[in-house]
Subunit: 585 residues, 2 copies
């Protein structure tokens, strides 16, 4: 029943195989990272036939577990050169799980230039020629394929950026409304899919919540309890459903940790103009939605539907994107943010990397800071694949090299998200040491650094940041494997019943006897596999560092630099020593 | 007397300091690498104020030792991210040595945008504003500065490529005729110089052979003997003076190791059209020169003066360049080669990296293979700094990413020179393991692989290549420190009196008691310093590899792949084990 779909793009043969025993309890990130580790030569070129794109629903996806619809996509990254897992909301994960598909493994490379479509249904797993979709934007691809296969299908696709093998290209899929905007954006996985000649995957399944469960009654009770836990927490039950993620804009700006004008300052005077409160108000006033679920069964509903003043609809505008295309560019116009967001979605670009890149291009004098119309033009250059577009599409570090800009906020080649590590040092530890390159979701230390969730650790001091980041990175690796949205962590961190309830759901679904301690070991095991892949690919502790200018250039308004020592950074993955220290032995 | 010139581009202060005791017997590469190791943070951005550009004459430069005028330039490389030493002929090394300058250390970064000129003479070491030279090609810069300071000065300069911080940019200096064509080309050192705002260095010294010598009579005898040794060897005494380096074109093509059409084939049907015999014949027929010395006192005179059919003069056309801009691009027109060479020289580009890049661009469909006029246009794009030019100027790996080309022949980000490692496996070991990235001069195994110099090792088999490359890399690191041209190695390898005579010159000059065994230790010490810098910068054995496609794609006509094992590659720098094995203990 549970199976892998293997898509060999060299032979154009699709095959199915039963899930080997040792992979049975792996889902989401744990599964993509393990398959990449087991099957991809670490030294291979990320765009060669040797690399593999792995797509996997989480362990709880396709059940009634609330907010469990995250889809993991993994490969060797063309952006970082290391292992990559990027996950997204949308409806694909639930549908794949309902087809009994634990993973899709896309391997090889077709001989002919051209594109293909993979069609998955209860009765079929077929590869079809799809040259008609070449060069087509993701919105239109999704519209056409839903027209062809029905409104309930999920469409996983790439845009022109992925086809052009750009390292900023993501893999998107649609929400229940058919809106192709749920991105596994980071690390250039869209380019890996593009290199395989795979334009889209249609997932056609009869239901959203039919994945098999060993003990249904026990599961139902646990899922109900978990729903209550999420609804009871102020962030997951009230904050996120009311204003979405963009409620962070004012909070982070006031904390002095909002990277503004390409990391030149830590607060943005127009933060309120692009923040969640303003977004919700404007969206509702224009007939949009301040709250919205990216997949059925999500109780946090942090998404939104934002109509621009020109009548286009961006669904959703997320905080990271509003920062990347707003504060980072000194752009305080939410309609410009939304327009740029729509373009990124359609071209198939990660908004964080692309916003980061535009900031670097502005620093390099390509266009001035704050030039929204110029930014729109630059995204069209990417879509067209002009030489300038091919620079920008390769990301911030590449663009920095092309234009001689050295203030580039990347780690392992990936651009930092919406928190300056000089004023939120826990996230700096995560950026520096994550297997993924600079990634806030890999260990979201903003919780205890700024939001007062899961404790309090002074964001401006180096003390305590390594332990904070370590614990969050381990927990995240586990959560990313369940299919649960990472935002459940807000409740897990504060409610002692949270994690046991997740474990209860897992045990009820799989008939296992896992404990909370096993979850920690599970997360550590994922990180160890990823670290080992990266080590074999040539990464050392020298890569677990922030750019050196962040140790020298003080960030206003706090005028702090990043000063967590290298010796401390090298302790992040020293789990054994950390456990001994914690237990006092 | 012997001193370092320290040029602080942040404060715009030039200072002199006596050479510390531990640096007294370091010259050329040994000195640049040691100063970079001691003073540059391995993690720094290569274009930041933290990097330093070090320029040093060799230990024997400025004396009557024949062919001892090589100039070493070092820094952390913007192309490889590791340590870099690149050396060049020309007259600067001798003049610096005659001023008693063991090294110029350029550090910091000016606050204002603009360019400076460093003027060195027996009485002055001054930094002058030189914004009038911004954007000016190297030929014109040299002409203007020789007009201003006299025809005997040496001008070390960068072109527009270096100013634009391109990773293919080199540092050039002139020959005795004032021709600015002697390049420390590799690794983007021109961009480091550009990042410091230093456009040029004028070296004004009274003579070429006045460097101090402790025991003049002993030195004179040794130098005379070394001259005789060079003149007696068939390569250094006859081959190089007659046809120059480009005599290799037909030889390497016949050996099936001439990378043709971006490493798709190992021989080029038009090799004879761009080879040394044709070059010499055409040059002489048009009033040029088939032989020429790049600095006074060179007995090998491997350079040439090639007038194109349009009346432009390229001096010289070297083998590596004729390959990179010829066979690699499927271009069999020597006049196109010369025109492209002139453009590279003037714009300030490494011909090997630039030719490599054009091949990748051709593979990516930017222009067709063999399109000479198109290649000329692309170089003009680089000069103009258009978006396309900014892609190409960053080198082959960068261009491969921009255009989605995966057959890119680079190691550590640097493009391979004119020997395909699948048909000349010793050079493959050097490419893979050198601290410099793919670099033939780092351990020129073509000697025993193809030329029958220093023994014979079958080029198509993996056996014996590691030992061959190891010994040559050690010897090269020593030779590169003396200021002697690497071509003396042909004689050193075959004539047992060669190396003792070099040691005799060193002892006579410095009053030392060095032995031949000390030279081996000296070379090993240089490599160890470079390896350690690279290790700290994040390099591991995973970086000591050829691109994986060279293990899979067989090269016609021999249909061989690169099959020296990774375990063997990891033994290249295991000097102790190698010595034990050699001595049978």
């Amino acid at each position: 029943m549970a199976r892998f779909i293997r898509v060999n793009m060299s032979s154009l043969v699709v095959s199915e195989e039963p899930v080997p025993k040792e992979y049975e309890l792996l889902g989401g990130r744990a599964l993509t990272s393990r398959l990449v580790f087991d099957e991809v030569p670490p030294a291979c070129h990320p765009l060669s036939a040797e690399n593999k794109l792995v797509i996997a629903p989480g362990l709880l996806s396709g059940t009634t577990a609330p907010s469990s619809g995250r889809l993991s996509v993994g490969a060797k990254s063309p952006l970082t050169g290391g292992i990559k897992e990027s996950n997204a909301g949308g409806i694909s994960s639930q549908l794949l799980a309902n087809l009994g598909i634990n993973a899709i493994v896309v391997e090889g490379k077709p001989a002919r230039k051209g594109f293909y479509l993979l069609h998955l249904s209860p009765t079929e797993a077929e590869l079809l020629e799809a040259d008609d979709l070449a060069g087509v934007g993701t919105y239109e691809v999704t519209t056409r394929l839903r027209r062809r296969y029905g409104e309930k299908v999920a469409v996983i696709t790439i845009g022109p950026a992925g086809e052009m093998l750009m390292a900023s290209a993501g893999v998107t899929n649609n929400d229940p409304d058919g809106n192709s905007s749920r991105y596994a954006g980071r690390g250039g996985l869209g380019a890996v899919m593009g290199s395989k000649g795979l334009k889209a995957i249609v997932v056609d399944a009869p239901g959203a919540f039919n994945a098999p469960v060993k003990e249904p009654e026990r599961f139902k009770a646990a899922a109900k309890k978990f729903t209550e836990i999420l609804l009871a927490h102020p962030v997951t039950g009230q904050g996120l459903p009311a204003f979405g993620t963009d409620v962070l804009m004012n909070v982070i700006s006031e904390a002095g940790a909002l990277p503004t004008r390409n990391f030149q300052r830590g607060s943005f005077e127009k933060a309120a103009d692009i923040g969640g409160e303003k977004l919700a108000e404007t969206a509702v006033a224009r007939g949009g939605k301040a709250t919205h679920a990216c997949h059925p069964g999500c109780v946090m509903r942090c998404s939104n539907v934002y109509p621009t003043k020109d009548g286009e609809v961006c669904a959703p505008v997320e905080y990271e994107t509003a920062w990347a295309l707003g504060a980072h560019l000194e752009n305080g116009d939410l309609d410009i943010v939304a327009k740029l967001n729509i373009l990124c979605n359609d071209i198939g670009l990660d908004t964080i990397e692309t916003g980061g890149t535009l900031g670097v291009a502005m620093e390099g004098g390509v266009i001035p800071f704050g030039d929204g119309a110029g930014a729109i033009r630059l995204l069209e250059e990417i879509r067209q694949g002009t030489p300038l577009g091919r620079i920008l599409g390769q990301g911030a570090e590449f663009t920095g090299k092309a234009f001689g800009v050295t203030r580039v906020a990347t780690v392992k080649g990936q651009h930092m998200p919406a928190y300056d590590p000089r004023a939120a040092k826990g996230i700096g530890v995560t950026y520096a040491t994550s297997t993924m390159g600079a990634d806030h979701t890999a260990g979201y230390s903003i919780t205890a650094n700024i939001l007062g969730v899961g404790g309090n650790v002074d964001p401006l001091k180096p003390e305590g940041q390594v332990a904070l980041s370590r614990d969050l990175q381990v927990a995240t690796a586990a959560v990313d494997s369940t299919g649960l949205c990472l935002f459940v962590a807000f409740a897990l961190l504060d409610n002692p019943e949270g994690l046991p309830t997740v474990v209860e759901m897992l045990n009820a679904k799989y008939g296992t006897e896992l404990t909370v301690g096993d979850v920690v070991k599970y997360g550590q095991a994922v990180l160890k596999v990823e670290r080992e892949f990266n080590r074999r690919a040539g990464f050392t502790s020298a890569h677990d560092r922030l750019p050196t200018w962040m140790k020298a250039e003080a960030l206003p308004p706090h005028h702090t630099v990043f000063d967590v020592s290298e010796a401390e950074l090298d302790q992040v993955f020293n789990f054994e020593t950390a456990e001994k220290a914690a237990s006092g032995t």
